[in-house]
């Protein structure tokens, strides 16, 4: 004779744990923190080595020089470089009552990066049981992204650039955490290999509801040959926002900044 057990939803008395409410509060905290942020833009490519972080840092500096308040969230938790690229130094992050103040980089760009938190040369590692580490590590990285969004006193920003690592998982986490999917700035190098990887990433982002802003072709020149930017722009109906050679000329970042 089976036990007569009611469903989870049938049990309606107060639940001290309130786990769904705790998760909801986390989401609410992200939304509240970003209420003063004009626009969140994810810088992505889906492929490593195309210079996303380089583009993000120089774009942020140009936006700041143009008089807009800008922040950089380095979402590449395992390969953080924003602090170095933005000359943020190694100053301690000041802890306020309910938030941590972001570091200040070149041209006044506000930033947070795992690079600011880890000892020199140390990879990102988490304390915890060694067995089945792969299962909970992803949850911890997603939590780190959430806390970088919600627990950093970004203040009033015109633009928050989120520098994503290669792949799609961090974009998915970001899209889940925000009220609506972020706008996407796509970075590619000219090669067919980059084009194909970026195409997949951009398609996935658009299927998730993201708005593509355009394509930045980085490392343009003799070293890498191809027409990735034109092809992607045509396929997705977006502009090529900038073509950045290996040695960017004066003004290229300002031109890109003006288009965002």
């Amino acid at each position: 004779m089976p036990l007569n057990i009611r469903t989870y939803r049938d049990l309606t008395e107060p639940d001290a744990s309130g786990l769904p409410a705790q998760i909801g509060a986390q989401r609410h905290r992200v939304a509240a923190r970003l209420a003063q942020v004009g626009r969140v833009v994810a810088v992505m490519s889906g492929k490593g080595g195309v210079g996303k972080s380089f583009v993000t840092a120089h774009l942020a500096r140009a936006v700041a020089r143009g008089g807009r308040a800008v922040g950089v969230l380095d979402a590449d938790l395992n390969g953080p470089t924003a602090a170095g690229l933005l000359d943020a130094g190694r100053a301690s992050l000041v802890v306020e009552e309910d938030a941590v103040l972001p570091a200040t980089g070149a041209d006044g760009v506000r930033l947070v990066s795992m690079d600011l938190l880890l000892e020199d040369g140390r990879p990102l590692a988490f304390r915890g049981p060694a067995a089945d580490r792969f299962v909970w590590r992803g949850a911890l990285e997603a939590a780190a992204l959430r806390e970088f969004l919600a627990d950093v006193a970004w203040g009033s920003l015109d633009l928050l650039l989120v520098d994503l690592p290669p792949g799609l998982s961090r974009f998915e986490e970001l899209a889940d955490l925000l009220d609506r999917p972020p706008a996407v700035l796509t970075v590619t190098i000219p090669t067919p290999e980059s084009r194909d990887a970026v195409r997949r990433a951009l398609r996935a982002a658009m299927e998730r509801g993201a708005t593509p802003l355009g394509v930045v072709e980085n490392m343009m020149g003799d070293q890498f040959r191809g027409d990735a930017a034109e092809v992607l722009a045509r396929e997705f109906g977006v502009p090529v926002l900038a073509r950045v050679p290996f040695h960017p000329p004066v003004g290229v970042w300002e031109t890109l900044a003006a288009r965002l």
Binding site: N4, V94, V95, A139, L140, V152
Partner: protein, 150 residues
């Protein structure tokens, strides 16, 4: 996650949380009708998974600290990554004193997370009207708040 006392057909209520050791998180639930108490025990992997989600079984009794999950779980963090003294956080939690033994124990906490741990214990003491933080208070708070690894 809810617990049902099948005999009474009543939803059990959260009673208390403990960290008995070996990475186990114990959460006890009591039937409001018959008084039966049942404990949920998680293995270290499950304990870590709950911690990774940034949630607390039994609910929070002190507010989440900024970057709590990052600070509580990252290994190899810079000891001076955070400055607790310059901000307003320190002033808010000034209150309970620390016994010499408690200070000694706190000094053994990695610098990366020490400021946050200190603040959490101070807030716990304040909430419970405790004037001096001792190792015993730290043990109780650690268990009640589910501060595995702190």
């Amino acid at each position: 996650m809810k617990f049902l006392c099948v005999e009474c057909d009543r939803q059990m209520v959260f009673e208390e949380r403990q960290l008995p050791g070996d990475g186990t998180l114990a959460a006890a639930f009591k039937c409001p009708s018959c008084g039966r108490v049942t404990a949920l025990l998680t293995n270290p992997f499950e304990t870590q998974l709950v911690s990774s989600l940034g949630v607390v079984i039994g609910g929070r009794t002190v507010p989440a600290q900024p970057l709590e999950t990052v600070r509580g779980n990252v290994a190899g963090g810079r000891p001076d990554a955070f400055d607790e003294a310059s901000g307003r956080a320190e002033a808010r939690t000034a209150g309970p004193s620390w016994s010499a033994e408690a200070q000694q124990r706190l000094s053994q906490v990695p610098g990366f997370v020490r400021g946050m741990v200190k603040k959490i214990y101070a807030e716990y003491a304040k909430d419970h009207g405790i004037a001096e933080i001792t190792p015993a208070v730290m043990d109780t708070a650690r268990a009640e708040l589910g501060l595995e690894g702190m």
